[in-house]
């Protein structure tokens, strides 16, 4: 499966939860949401081979609100 976060991309095997995958790529699960194949999913979702995962940053701190 492919995981994308901003300009970063990773490939890994399916079968782990989204939360585990987030930690594996070095991110904080509290700081991102998971979009799998265009759908928002919870972080306990088990990701599959072939999934396209996009991680969306949650934390904001600039003028965006």
């Amino acid at each position: 499966m492919k995981i994308a976060y901003r300009d970063n991309k990773w490939e890994m095997k399916g079968g782990s939860t989204a939360r585990a995958a987030i930690k594996k790529v070095g991110l904080d699960p509290e700081a991102v949401l998971v979009v799998r194949n265009g759908q928002l999913v919870t972080d306990d979702t088990v990701l599959q081979e072939g999934d396209e995962i996009k991680l969306i940053a949650v934390i904001s701190g600039g003028t965006g609100g």
Binding site: G62, T63, G64
Partner: protein
């Protein structure tokens, strides 16, 4: 949403989010349906979500977009386009634009470059607060609503607590009442939501927003404190919520910071007429006078 001990499907999450916002508005006496509310919209997830929810709840709202003139990476142009796009797609969504450079002659960035010793975020905040208040007062709005969420409030609370900024600790609240005829009420209807909740709402509704952070927010202390609180939340689910809500409760029930809650005497700025505690000119007008 582990902090609420709640697990919902998409459909019920969207319903819950809207109805919970209405309960928060009522709980804190923020505003009523008979009042006109100015919603500060930046093109980010929280403010667009707030605008969307308030429209769904039938409140009389108008958006206010402040063009700060941040040209780096086309930030201001992109964020303005997000606001325009939302309004075009959303029935009943109207908004006004306050252009800092067009109105005052300089963008926030140009102001910041003239003051290398002062953080850009600090200047930006001062400019936005002044403009929001002026627009609300001149436009006859009862209150200004911003998309601040519980993560924002908890981060500010942590920062102020670590420095024992008792003046700020005395005043931080979901509602800042009007204490002067030219000072608008300020409300935060999303104050009980985690940032994840508002992000999930915005994504689930298909609302397009600007993902990139302001190019001048890198290293912002707010983000640092949010990251610290995230670590705490991972170890102790609900800790962030408890920290903030227990603070509000304890401040009221224990009478904390009573001495610093004495009302600050305000008078009208000699230049713009907006309320200020400083002699003669307010901090905003001094910005334009200094250089």
């Amino acid at each position: 949403m582990r902090q609420h001990k709640l697990s919902l499907c998409r459909e019920h999450f969207l319903e819950w989010f809207v109805s919970h916002t209405d309960r928060v508005i009522e709980k804190y006496g923020m505003f009523g349906h008979e009042e006109r509310i100015l919603v500060a919209v930046s093109g980010g997830k929280d403010s667009l979500a707030l605008w969307d929810v308030l429209l769904r709840l039938g409140y009389q709202v108008q958006g206010l977009y402040i063009d700060l003139g941040i040209g780096d990476e086309g930030y201001s142009e992109q964020s303005k386009e997000m606001v325009k796009s939302f309004a075009e797609r959303r029935e009943g969504a109207s908004f006004r634009i306050a252009d800092v450079k067009a109105t005052y002659g300089k963008s926030v960035l140009e102001l910041a470059l003239e003051r290398p010793g002062r953080k850009t975020c600090s200047l930006c905040g001062l400019v936005k607060r002044h403009i929001m208040n002026r627009e609300a007062y001149e436009g006859g709005f009862a209150a200004v609503a911003t998309g601040h969420n519980l993560d924002d409030e908890a981060a500010v609370l942590l920062q102020n607590t670590l420095r024992w900024q008792t003046g700020y600790l005395a005043r931080q609240a979901p509602v800042l009442p009007s204490t002067h005829p030219h000072l608008s009420r300020k409300v935060k209807p999303f104050v009980r939501f985690y940032e994840r909740d508002t992000a999930a709402y915005t994504l689930s509704r298909g609302i397009d927003y600007i993902y990139e952070e302001c190019p001048y927010s890198k290293g912002a202390t707010t983000i640092f404190y949010k990251e610290l609180l995230n670590q705490l939340e991972t170890r102790s689910r609900g800790a962030r919520q408890q920290f903030y809500l227990s603070f509000l409760q304890a401040r009221e029930s224990e009478g904390l910071f009573q001495g610093t809650r004495a009302q600050v005497e305000l008078h009208e700025c000699a230049e713009c007429g907006q309320p200020t505690s400083a002699p003669e000119l307010c901090a905003f007008c001094r910005l334009w006078e200094e250089k």
